[in-house]
Symmetry: C2
DNA sequence: CCTCCTGCGTTGAAAATTCAACGGAAATTC
DNA sequence: GAATTTCCGTTGAATTTTCAACGCAGGAGG
């Protein structure tokens, strides 16, 4: 895949870096270009965490399966975001999750040490990159807090509505799409799939919600409601 | 409270900083010494996140209460650890949780900008501090992943046992104490308190577990089992 | 020493989730 | 284009959790 500079400027790791400096910087960081088929494992739980991933296209998910077989989706990553960076920055050094491509995906891998330690060329933007990385890891932290707020609901309906309201708020629109199929959503909310389907149907009958596949619309919401 | 240098050298933010440099560094960072009574709110959800907290004594917890009244304990902080640092480093800028002293506590507050931007004295340890901060935020990330693994269990028993096994592993001992009372543990595991008590009693009857107040002991565990 | 309050364990009934199974629709594969 | 696989929605029974309430022990405070 040819990496467009436009794509990378939208990556939060390179905030404040001018586009013309990007190619040299990528070379300096030793970025490797990768591709993953849909459903394939990009990084395996328990393996050493050394790299920072940058998702260029597709979609990847952080998934943990416990000994009882419960599958949990911790987070869904969309372009042009980082993944696995928190694990590579931490002391632990082992991945607590599988990183899986839920769609065919292109991504870069960068050895985290190349980011965290000053490069041989003493490039002037390095401190900015580290600053950006700190902010990104902190933002991931916030996302995990938000997910915990969702799963803290004591019923399927409560979890689902909390999730959907947050999505609508982030999209700033009563219509929005989600990066999950039904099973994926159930695994993200930590509920049973069939129970989730049943609750969704109920909400549709009640006129609270409308949906088709992964496109949703919240009704009776004090918010703009536009189609594109 | 007099701040002993020994205490601060155990704070991960100052890893790699020599003890004699600490007092000057604290002054440079503008650290303010604070005290909180048991049960009092140190930082309020929704207020601007600007400071990094360093807990010197006592215990603080990150607590979120949703609109339905469900109380969730996201994390319990013990000395000499940081708190609220992730929120102050993130773009969001607002606290997603209440920070509450579960015991009478002493702590320091440091304006996060003083840490993240080079100080006027251009102190040579600043980059080390930022590096440490990145690692700490990443470690918090890991802790949240671990908590999610616990709450992913589909039953009270599963959540409880996952939690206790992790505690025993971290203590490297089948005997250990936890920083929660029953209600607190229930709020951390996201289960009902009475159901938790019932499950604990059952496990005790079954000979899997023994406990008194907040002291626990896992039986039949392939692990050393010593009384201090 | 007595009273008040908090935390803990128990119980029973109501409600919700989980689990297994099935049919249909849509997408994928050959 | 036909077969196959995957995804989705539904249902009913079994299992759990939730919720409200109560008694008791221990500590705090007057």
């Amino acid at each position: 895949m040819t990496i467009s500079a436009d794509l990378l400027t939208r990556c939060p790791l390179f905030d404040g870096i001018s586009p013309e400096d990007l190619p040299g910087m990528l070379a300096c960081l030793g970025a490797r270009s990768m591709r993953a088929d849909k459903g394939s494992v990009i990084l395996r739980e328990g393996s050493p965490a050394k790299d920072v991933g940058i998702l260029l296209s597709g979609c990847v998910q952080l998934i943990r399966t416990d000994f009882a077989g419960n599958r949990t989706i911790m987070m869904s990553i969309t372009p042009v975001k980082l993944f696995a960076e928190s694990f590579s920055c931490s002391k632990a050094g082992l991945l607590p999750v599988d990183v899986i491509a839920s769609e065919e995906s292109d991504y870069l891998l960068i050895d985290c040490r190349r980011i965290m330690t000053a490069c041989t060329h003493a490039c002037s933007f390095h401190s900015r990159i580290i600053f950006n990385l700190l902010q990104i890891v902190a933002d991931k932290n916030l996302a995990l807090h938000q997910r915990a707020l969702i799963t803290a609901g004591r019923s399927t309906r409560e979890k689902l509505m909390t999730y959907l309201l947050i999505q609508a708020k982030e999209a700033n629109n009563a219509r929005f799409s989600i990066p999950f199929d039904r099973q994926g959503l159930a695994d993200y909310l930590e509920v049973d799939r069939s129970g989730l389907c049943a609750e969704m149907s109920k909400l549709k009958k009640e006129g609270v919600l409308d949906y088709y596949k992964s496109d949703f619309r919240l009704l009776n919401l004090p918010m703009q409601d536009t189609i594109e």
